[in-house]
């Protein structure tokens, strides 16, 4: 009975996962740790993508807002000699305010316009970063000053890793609080039935806007975080292709898994591409093929496969009624992500 209870809560794996994450720097060297720092950054990006998927809006401007965070922090440190920690709130503010200006145009026009407008914005923004002298041009900014805590220079990979972990856990905590609240309920409702939600009095545009801006805030934080371990900021890092990879992370991890999906996806894809370092030019092809295969044969992603395996094993073990609910997220079936009656938007 107790065992059944343990497995019934689908959070049991959190404890070993957390311990593993904390212990990681003691197993791997500095070079490997840098890879995991990338994984953290990509997880933050993928989480923001997953957040807006919750309200039925795929976004392809993830990398652009990530760049906004990085450039805000980097420029403030370079030009205004500001402390890194002070730039964090400013970069969140810039991302949210600029995001408000951009998205208040596009969110009310529905999913298609939101998506495409985001791409156009990302294109324009990258051009700005690349062409404006102030930002250092296509070659990147000058060497960034080091990030310090008091007089300690933060350049030990282990502490950077832990900083990233703290950011990730903070992100997950905020999402958890949001998802469990009335706000999260409204978001899920919008994602799985936009017209129905609006007929029940949910302000679709308002809640979508709030959702996208929360995502923007965390993207800016991820951008600022990337300043910690980068020598300089190069505009092409924040291009369209990166946004596409972010989308792949989410789908490979599992679209229905609000928290674990993006992280698992980012982890798996980054490790795969890292293990192919010798044949780097083949890496996008492998990623693409994996994504196609996942979409065709496991539309629920790796976690979806894992879960259905775990469920069937548990069912056999406990030989009682289904131990786990089928799908944890509001997204429901893949089809329901956009299964909307065609017609007028709210």
């Amino acid at each position: 009975m107790r065992r059944a209870m343990l497995f019934k809560s689908n959070k049991w794996w959190l404890i070993p996962a957390f311990l593993l994450a904390v212990a990681l720097p003691f197993f791997v060297g500095a070079y490997r740790l840098q890879i995991f720092i990338f994984v953290i950054t990509y997880s933050l990006l993928a989480l923001a993508f997953q957040l807006t998927m919750r309200v039925g809006l795929p976004r392809f401007d993830v990398a652009a807002w990530w760049g906004v965070g990085a450039y805000t922090s980097g420029m403030l440190m370079l030009k205004a000699n500001m402390s890194f920690w002070l730039t964090l709130p400013i970069s969140v503010l810039v991302s949210v305010v600029l995001g408000f200006a951009v998205f208040s145009v596009s969110v009310r026009r529905g999913m298609m316009v939101f998506m495409m407008f985001g791409m156009v914005f990302a294109l324009a923004l990258q051009q700005v970063f690349g062409s404006v002298k102030f930002f250092g041009g296509w070659g990147g900014t000058p060497q960034l000053p080091p990030v310090t805590i008091g007089s300690y220079v933060l350049n030990d990979k282990m502490w950077i890793y832990y900083l990233g972990m703290a950011l990730l856990i903070f992100n997950l905590g905020v999402y958890q609080l949001l998802y469990k609240s009335r706000i999260g309920r409204a978001w899920s409702a919008i994602g799985s039935g936009l017209r129905l939600a609006s007929s029940l009095g949910v302000n679709v545009v308002g809640y979508r806007l709030a959702n996208v801006l929360v995502g923007n805030a965390f993207l800016a934080l991820a951008g600022s975080f990337s300043v910690v371990y980068q020598a300089m900021i190069i505009p092409t890092t924040y291009g369209f292709q990166q946004s596409i990879y972010v989308m792949m992370y989410v789908v490979i991890g599992g679209l229905g898994f609000a928290m674990a999906g993006p992280i698992v996806g980012a982890l798996v894809l980054t490790l795969i591409s890292e293990s192919m370092r010798a044949a780097q030019q083949y890496q996008p092809i492998v990623t693409g093929v994996i994504t196609v295969l996942i979409i065709m044969f496991a539309p629920w992603g790796l976690l979806g496969v894992l879960r259905s395996r775990v469920v069937s094993v548990l069912q056999r073990l406990l030989s009682s009624r289904a131990a786990l609910p089928d799908i944890p997220s509001s997204l429901g079936s893949p089809a329901s992500v956009t299964a909307e009656e065609p017609g007028k938007d709210a």
């Binding site: 609080l177 609240s181 309920r185 799985s192 007929s199 029940l200 949910v202």
Partner: protein
Amino acid sequence: MALLETRGLSKSFGRLEAVKDLDLTVEQGELRGLIGPNGAGKSTVFNLITGFDVPTRGTVWFRGENITNVPAHKIAQKGISRAFQQSYLFMFSTVLENVLVGCHMSSRAGALREFLHTRSARMRDREARNKAMEILDFMGMAHLADEPASSLSHGYQRCLGVAMALACEPTLLLLDEPVTGMNPTESAEMVERIRRIREKGITVILVEHSMEVVMNVCERITVLSYGQKLAEGLPAEIQCNPLVVEAYLGKEEA
């Protein structure tokens, strides 16, 4: 002042005039029947009232206020809810969660409080849950609260649609064919519930194909045909109106 009034309401889809110059007046506390052959424009009228469609011409007035171009969620907030003709539910959430979305408007505690799950927010949430359970109980499906909506039988899915609309605490409830596809027992129960909803003081407009049901529960009936009002009056008057009989000829038992 009438509760709901439409003046010259019209809607065209391309060349098709789905609703044409409709003047409809519904008083507070009424249980109005809206009938008509398939494609007469009944659902379109509901869409126009609730802000899901923008009328080509004409206006909608609710409690003396023009709500013609008001967005759907604001109309819901003003007190008009609807149950859809298709079983349109949050299929992958549980029954209770579905109704909780219906409680969205009444469980507001402020964004920051909700985010931080403060005591007042948790209390609001508990209240909403209680209210949702009460409504489910009223609809006779409290025992299904934790089932996913997609696993419900057709009859219960229709009930859930009505439950969600009720959770909005409406002044005016629009029901689009609530008993379609139900077996006779379920249908009789639903009719009984519609009566009780009305006794609670909620004004109801009922679209229904089954003449038996409409004649039974409604005290006034409006007949639509090709988007136009054909007749309006007491059930008995409607039943022997030659125009109505003609419109329905070969279609219904009327």
